[in-house]
Symmetry: C2
Subunit: 215 residues, 2 copies
């Protein structure tokens, strides 16, 4: 038995430690869990690059998942609005959930503006050494010129209050683990830079090939 101290009568069931440790997950998956935390302005390219990085990593055999507005705002954080407290709580929960995914052995990529340093620091604290801050860099001018959803236009018209980069601050990362400049690089170059960063930063297993067999 894995846990010789565990009583074998149901009448003695007590709480036990997690038996499947991060170490054995690492051995199984061939890589450690990680939080790859994208931050940047609206229209900087976070969601697009997150999805493409997910696909690249998945195709290479990594266990990977993206947390973004689509799957978080309508579910876990559906009770939150856009006032300052709710925005902070939104990022806090995402940081905690990302840490759980990393603990489960996955590489989780998060794609949220997350404009405040304090909020990002809290996400880093939740995940510890598994945390990687990736600054998806493009200036307000560039992002406003893209404006794929017309949000900047609405913000300029005063229809969206506290819009990051227009009427609310974006606090540039001071020492991100990685910077991807989407104003300079085309999308394939961004893909390559991101893949290179993750592959060089996430610890890989010794074996070149791993077998996960379901019997």
């Amino acid at each position: 038995m894995e846990n010789p101290g565990l009583a074998h009568k149901a009448t003695n069931i007590t709480a036990v430690e997690h038996i499947v440790s991060p170490g054995v997950r690492y051995q199984r998956n061939g890589h450690t869990g990680a939080v790859v935390w994208f931050t940047g302005l609206s229209a900087s390219g976070k969601s697009t690059l997150a999805m493409r990085l997910e696909r690249q990593l998945f195709n290479k055999g990594y266990q990977v998942y993206v947390l973004d507005g689509d799957n978080v705002r309508h579910g876990l954080n559906s009770d939150l609005g856009f006032n300052p407290e709710d925005r902070a709580e939104n990022i806090r929960r995402i940081g905690e959930v990302a840490a759980l995914f990393a603990n489960a052995g996955l590489i989780v990529i998060t794609a949220f503006i997350s404009p405040y340093r304090a909020d990002r620091q809290r996400a880093r604290d939740a995940a510890g050494s598994a945390f990687h801050e990736v600054f998806i860099r493009a200036g307000t001018d560039t992002c406003e010129a893209r404006d794929p959803k017309g949000l900047y236009r609405k913000a300029r018209a005063g229809l969206i209050p506290e819009f990051t980069g227009i009427s609310a601050p974006y606090e540039v990362p001071e020492s991100p683990e990685c910077i991807i400049d989407t104003a300079v690089n085309d999308i394939e170059a961004c893909d390559r830079l991101l893949l290179d960063y993750v592959e060089s930063s996430v610890a890989l297993g010794d074996t070149a090939e791993l077998t996960a067999s379901v019997r």
Copy 2:
């Protein structure tokens, strides 16, 4: 390219669909994602059996993770207390996070008393057909006789208000997908019943062996 409609200049980056679908995760992992939702009284055996089921499934090659008080109450739900509203919110968030894990292709086992039908129904709604309610059954008498943490004793002494089974109700599942009676079965029998249930309920891939190679 997977997404021929995607613009190839960074200046045209727009939001894209999740490219790694549940279907391709299923093909990779050899099984679908699932939420295996344990419910039952304190000391019914939920956490112990959840950890042991996680180990059994992991050893057979499944991607599996346990959400329990240890990894949720101190992080994601650290802002919540034990009043009725906070208890409901606690379970709501766990249901949403569990649904995210299932969406990411994992079998996630949750080990929480979750005494109210309405709260469990909400968790089911979040995960859809991936949801499996497992009633870890042991009566109050049995659980109180075990009382590994002395909680029932404290509750009887009035030191813990609204303690499920003593001073707060436990709403028995009306149609759970699985019932595990820990008052009758010893722990190994419970292990076998749970493994059999999951293996017969979670869709498996066609291939007997799957290879996940990290290059």
